[in-house]
């Protein structure tokens, strides 16, 4: 699935000490865009390779975890046990052969192994290291652990998420992970650009909660400027009305609808064949609709409840009203638009076979993307150690016998 066009990041080499989602997601895009990404991992550790879902008939097979395979497509795997002195020495040598090292261990784990930035930079002064933690690598909470839900709750994002008058809720999709992974991706490219200009490497300290805070500037500013704290208002908006997610005719189907102007409101009244709404003073202007939003939402849902979601979408869009179906995650793979955009990709893995996942969300006319399957565990250990750091056959055999390459 490699295109004939040049890959934008070819020539960049990354050592990936990432775990689970955040940093593996960062390097996933780097790999697809042409970087050589070497995952340093060990069969002795419990990682995403031990997490479900597994391919049918391959329960607990290290090479059959969908979770690992989707997040590591197109990368290389080098099996090294970092709890051994020889393993740590290999990692130190590899750090000198790459442009970038990434990790998202708990704060302090790499330092305890003697593999933290301060140790690595002494050996390799121009290395770039991107380190991603829930709370970052500085501050009184640097050692706190946090899953995506904790990051949602700490960042303030949960404060603006919830039903009308209800309690704070958590966003879907473990979003702090891929979001901070994408910030990491940007940060790495910026640091590489800086190094190309100045010759200077550096440490990049990422906090997942800071990535999440960039989603809520309005709420942060309103509090720090005016002392105003958010009220949870469901899916409503302070300027657009109607603006919400409305129940449709078939079980668990929903229409997202957003009206930004009086013209669009009139168009909606036409599509819904509700001339009485168009004449209703409570709904005449944006201000009036905002003031009577509860009655407005009730009226709109009274109409959508009788509609099939895709038919209603088509009719509203034809009348220039912003509307769309609420898609389930499993429906994304079949979505005509995402398929047409080349976002739904298929990789063919030697153990799990052909699987569909979602690729790079943009197109480039003069540059290519290279979608490949995930590596088998340790598939590139020999190649990496012999070609990159020049380990000879006898040493390799000894390392293998000693369990360093497990």
């Amino acid at each position: 699935m490699k295109t004939a066009k040049p890959l934008p990041l070819e020539g960049i080499r990354v050592m990936d000490l990432g775990q689970f989602i955040a940093m593996p997601f960062c390097t996933l895009w780097l790999a697809w865009l042409g970087a050589e990404v070497i995952v340093v991992e060990s069969r002795k550790r419990s990682t995403a390779r031990t997490a479900p879902p597994f391919a049918e008939g391959h329960d607990r097979d290290f090479n059959a975890s969908g979770y690992f395979n989707f997040l590591n497509a197109g990368k290389k795997s080098c099996a090294v046990d970092m709890t051994t002195a020889a393993g740590r020495d290999i990692v130190r040598q590899l750090a000198g052969k790459v442009d970038v090292v990434v990790d998202n261990f708990s704060t302090g784990v790499l330092e305890k192994l003697g593999l933290g930035y301060e140790s690595i930079v002494k050996l390799h002064p121009t290395v770039i290291m991107a380190s991603n933690g829930a709370f970052g690598r500085t501050g009184p909470m640097r050692n706190s652990r946090g899953l995506h839900s904790a990051v949602n709750l700490f960042s303030g994002v949960a404060d603006v998420t919830g039903y009308d008058g209800g309690h704070p809720r958590i966003l879907g999709g473990v979003i702090p992970d891929p979001l901070s992974g994408t910030y990491s991706n940007f940060a790495i490219l910026a640091a590489l650009h800086h190094r190309n200009r100045t010759g200077e490497g550096q440490f990049i300290d990422l906090a997942m909660y800071e990535a999440m805070m960039t989603l809520i500037p309005e709420a942060v500013i309103d509090y720090t400027l005016n002392g105003v704290e958010p009220e949870r208002v469901g899916s409503r908006d302070s300027m657009k009305a109607p603006h919400g997610i409305y129940r449709c005719k078939d079980d668990d189907t929903w229409l997202a609808l957003s009206v930004a102007s009086d013209e669009e409101w009139m168009a909606l009244c036409g599509v819904a064949q509700r001339p009485e709404w168009a004449a209703d003073a409570r709904f005449k202007t944006a201000d009036a609709r905002q003031k009577n939003v509860a009655a407005l939402d009730l009226a709109v849902e009274g109409w959508t409840r009788g509609q099939q979601v895709h038919a209603a979408t088509d009719a509203l869009q034809a009348a220039s009203v912003a509307a769309g179906p609420v898609l389930r995650i499993d429906e994304l793979l079949d979505d005509a638009q995402l398929n047409e955009r080349g976002l739904v990709i298929t990789t063919d893995h030697p153990v799990v076979g052909k699987r569909c996942q979602l690729g790079i969300p943009w197109r480039m006319d003069s540059l290519g993307i290279n979608y490949q399957h995930a590596p088998l565990v340790g598939e590139h250990t020999h190649q990496t150690l012999t070609e990159l750091i020049g380990i000879d056959a006898a040493t390799y055999a000894r390392l293998e016998a000693d369990g360093v390459l497990a």
Partner: protein, 403 residues
């Protein structure tokens, strides 16, 4: 360009020059990311100004196009000019800016761009080295290419609305808790970040090919591509995503988001070791030691009762008390922080996650660096431009261009 006044140390992207023709969040945020890290960004507005100038939050709620918090945040570190692209003079002025630029970023509609003769194809021909980044709700090809979408619509079509509230929370009442969008520009911000990342990717590509690139970002795709965990389940099991609070969506038990004495808290103990710590933290109550909860399998079967038992315990403690227990016992347990609480907490202060700004003469704080680049850090070089602030400086010689 001659205007780069190097009074502050150069950022990592110093030397790159960007023209932004953006409105709202996605395009302006993409250009902000580049400007925040050292690129020189010129923002082009119409005489009416970017719509976020009318959005706020304003000091004491009084609308003022020069004191909108969202505008001032999204347009930090940029120069600003006003142009009327419906006139020849306006288009000549834009050409003047583009002829010196590395990057053009826009999230205006393709009709608007074509009407001003700055559609991507036209720009590619006239400026072969230019990187042209366009952002649209669904992308410029496909059955949805010409359809209308905004933050809410693309969020709904990215899978995010259906899966919000997210695990380990989830809806517990499908009738009263429909798919949910937060009161924030989540998808537009993410589309902007993705566009900025894509743009930098193309900068690297250009150094390989010597050629510009049209980078074309779909807002829907930007957020859909982040559904990496749940798409795995869909692809590997073919199962329908379940919106209901249940063991299938929540995973190993306990893994709950529950009320406590003064708010809400997540309590997770997915592995046996976590469960043992949690039982100890709860004071080893008899129920927790019974066979109903002795194994992971038993806890999953009895999860409804388990959840109620855990709520009985959390309701006796405050979020801070539960957090202290979590720190001491190394348990994945965390309380809800309001924006007030997080904005004022020590972690945010020490990391300078929020930075001081002036909004209409009042002090406020806004998100600063989204990550710390130790040697070439994020900097507030200049506040967002007033409407047309740099017309004279950047376009003085092109009399009549400004609107």
């Amino acid at each position: 360009m001659t205007r780069a006044a190097a009074t502050t140390p150069a950022g990592p992207l110093a030397g790159l020059s960007v023209v932004e023709l953006g409105d709202g969040t996605s395009g302006p945020y993409a250009a902000k990311m580049l400007g925040d890290f050292g690129a020189e960004v010129v923002k082009v507005e119409t005489a009416a100004g970017d719509s976020t100038r009318r959005r706020g939050p304003f000091p004491d709620g009084r609308p003022d196009p020069e004191a909108s918090g969202l505008f001032l945040y999204l347009n930090l570190n940029k120069y600003g000019v006003t142009l009327d692209l419906k006139t020849t003079a306006g288009r000549i002025a834009l050409d003047h800016l583009l002829s010196n630029a590395d990057i053009f970023i826009s999230n205006l509609s393709s009709e608007t761009l074509r009407a001003a003769d700055i559609g991507p194809l036209s720009l590619r021909e006239r400026y072969p080295n230019l990187i042209i980044t366009t952002i649209s709700p669904f992308g410029s090809t496909g059955p949805w290419a010409n359809r209308k979408g905004d933050e809410l619509i693309t969020y709904a079509m990215s899978g995010m609305a259906y899966s919000t509230p997210g695990m380990p929370d989830a809806s517990d009442d499908l009738e009263r808790e429909p798919p949910l969008h937060p009161a924030a520009n989540v998808n537009e911000t993410i589309a902007g970040l993705v566009a900025a990342t894509a743009t930098l990717t193309a900068v690297f590509g250009r150094s390989r090919t010597g050629e510009g690139c049209h980078v074309e970002v779909s807002q829907q795709a930007a957020l859909a591509a982040m559904q990496i965990r749940d798409i795995t389940t869909a692809s590997f099991t073919g199962e329908r995503y379940n919106r209901l609070l249940n063991p299938m969506t929540i995973g190993r038990m306990p893994n709950f988001y529950v009320p406590c004495k003064d708010g809400y808290v997540t309590v997770a103990a997915p592995m046996d070791i976590h469960w043992e710590r949690l039982v100890e933290a709860m004071g080893k109550p008899d129920w927790a030691l019974s066979k109903d909860y002795a194994t992971g399998a038993a806890r999953t079967v009895n999860w409804v009762a388990l959840r109620l038992k855990i709520i009985e315990w959390t309701m006796k403690l405050t979020g801070d008390e539960l957090h202290a227990i979590a720190e001491e016992m190394q348990l994945p347990m965390f309380p809800f922080y309001s924006i007030r609480k997080v904005a004022d907490c020590e972690q945010v202060r020490e990391r300078r996650s929020l930075v001081d700004v002036d909004i209409g003469g009042k002090r406020a704080r806004m998100p600063g660096a989204p990550f710390a680049l130790r040697k070439s850090p994020w900097q507030l070089r200049r506040p967002a431009p007033r409407l047309g602030e740099h017309n004279e400086m950047l376009l003085g010689q092109l009399a009549g261009a400004t609107s």
